[in-house]
Amino acid sequence: MNDDELLDYALGRHEVLDRRRVEMTLETDALITERVDRLSESLNRLLDDGDSIDIPADLGHRTVAFVARHRRHPTLREQLPVRLSPFRWADFAVAASILIAGLLTLVPAIQRSRDKMNQAGCVFNLQQLGNSLAQYASMNPHLPYPPSNRGDNAHVGDFAPIMYNAGLLHNIALLDCPCNGISPQSTQLVSFDHLEQLRNTNPAKYREMVNWDYAYNVGYRHASGMPGPIEGDLASSGIPVLADQPNHDGVQVFQGNSPNHAGRGQNVLFGDGSVRWFLTRRVSPLDPDLFLNNEHQPLPGLTPTDAVLVPSKMPFQTR
């Protein structure tokens, strides 16, 4: 039995004591018993005030009458019903304010984070496509280009099945810019020959099968006067090869930045494999419009430095 229990016992704090155990201790231990007795006497001397408090006459009745007067003439506030409600309107208002403040803070931050992630995804796609194009250029004298017998019916998006035929592109997700929220109609890449058949039997379906989010360089007019692909050392040329596609209707290319990034700008893949972000369509002093040639047409460039990146749904316009 420690002193804390001894004090509780002497103060009559029985609710915190194992009373039977204390009594057994006191029965068997004379020293503890004497200590408890002396403690009780000391506490009594220190705290006994004689209890000389007299209750005023009729205090209870006067109190009941006092309250009854208030019942007959309650104040306006007292007339309002007092109900036990777990929540008040003020509580809801505070909770709603905190929620709204949290949303106002969090939603833009989440949106910014998502935009950054999507932007990084777009850059990654172009880098991967750049690697495939570099490999294609190392195995061929030029970048992917439709066979000459296809005339001007081949669509720019054919660059992807050409690379698929060469075994250099398998992941169709690389052709989808994650920023625009639109998925391509195609779910898998098919061979160039298969597309050729589809073009003859179902032109509309064909156009959908080669409709990617990125515009591709359709080459330039060579010395012969005929359009042709980008040739030579791709890495040293440093020309734009792929980019977020511009706004278009399948025939014309409209003004403004790519809709992939809500008109804020476009990512451009260059021949050396680098990907850069441009706020306008001007990529160099020699090439004032990334998506049009120097005659302001979505046609092959007039010179090797006049890069023209055309939406994949539009034809190469090789003639």
Partner: protein, 212 residues
């Protein structure tokens, strides 16, 4: 004449638990139920208020305002909640307000911290109390000693005085006091020990002997 509340007599009301009475008053608002509650706590609560306030007249006012609050706040009484701590909590708040209005304890707070050493070690306190069998107050006449006890308790810091009165004189349980004062049970014990140590210290001071 036996008054009736619905089908139940006042005699039957006397057999109901405090909590049942209060729930009935909350739901029906019968004056006879309220009267039973007031009379049941008349002596106990008035003595608490006199000891705490040190002024019989002020205690009477606070007693009445406490039961007015019981009437006004009856809708807040929850079923299953013990009535006694709820009543004491209202009375203590009313008493603190009264003291503040009287300007006697301008900064009284129900959860104010104990100054100095605070909760005394039980071992030291017990050793101190049992050390001298006669005690420092042994030389006083009984009436003088009782007056000294009343005066000394009045001089205690407010938080210690509240705890001591509730625990020793009102015989409330530690957990009930904790509920009334909105403090942990451990703090109740430490405040009680601190109050006893303070009283013992006051009993041993030369100033006490000068008062004799």
């Amino acid at each position: 004449m036996v008054k009736t509340v619905g089908s139940q007599s006042a005699e039957d009301l006397g057999q109901l638990a405090d909590e049942e009475l209060m729930c009935r008053y909350r739901d029906d608002g019968h004056a006879d139920v309220f009267t039973e509650i007031v009379h049941r706590y008349e002596r106990e609560l008035y003595r608490y208020l006199v000891r705490y306030l040190g002024d019989a007249s002020l205690a009477e006012d606070v007693f009445q305002s406490t039961f007015l609050q019981v009437h006004l706040k009856r809708g807040l009484f929850e079923k299953g909640r013990p009535f006694r701590p709820w009543l004491y909590s209202i009375a203590t708040h009313q008493a603190v307000d009264a003291l503040r209005k009287a300007g006697r304890h301008p900064a009284v707070s129900l959860d104010q911290r104990v100054g100095g050493r605070g909760g005394a070690e039980a071992s030291n306190l017990v050793d101190l109390l049992v050390a001298d069998q006669e005690g420092p107050l042994a030389d006083l006449e009984e009436a003088e000693r009782r007056q000294w006890v009343r005066d000394s308790i009045a001089k205690l810091p407010d938080s210690l005085r509240q705890t001591l009165i509730l625990a020793y004189y009102q015989d409330l349980k530690y957990r009930e006091i904790a509920e009334i004062l909105k403090i942990p049970v451990g703090t109740v014990k430490s405040r009680l020990h601190a109050a006893l140590e303070k009283l013992e210290s006051m009993a041993r001071t030369p100033a006490r002997r000068l008062d004799e």
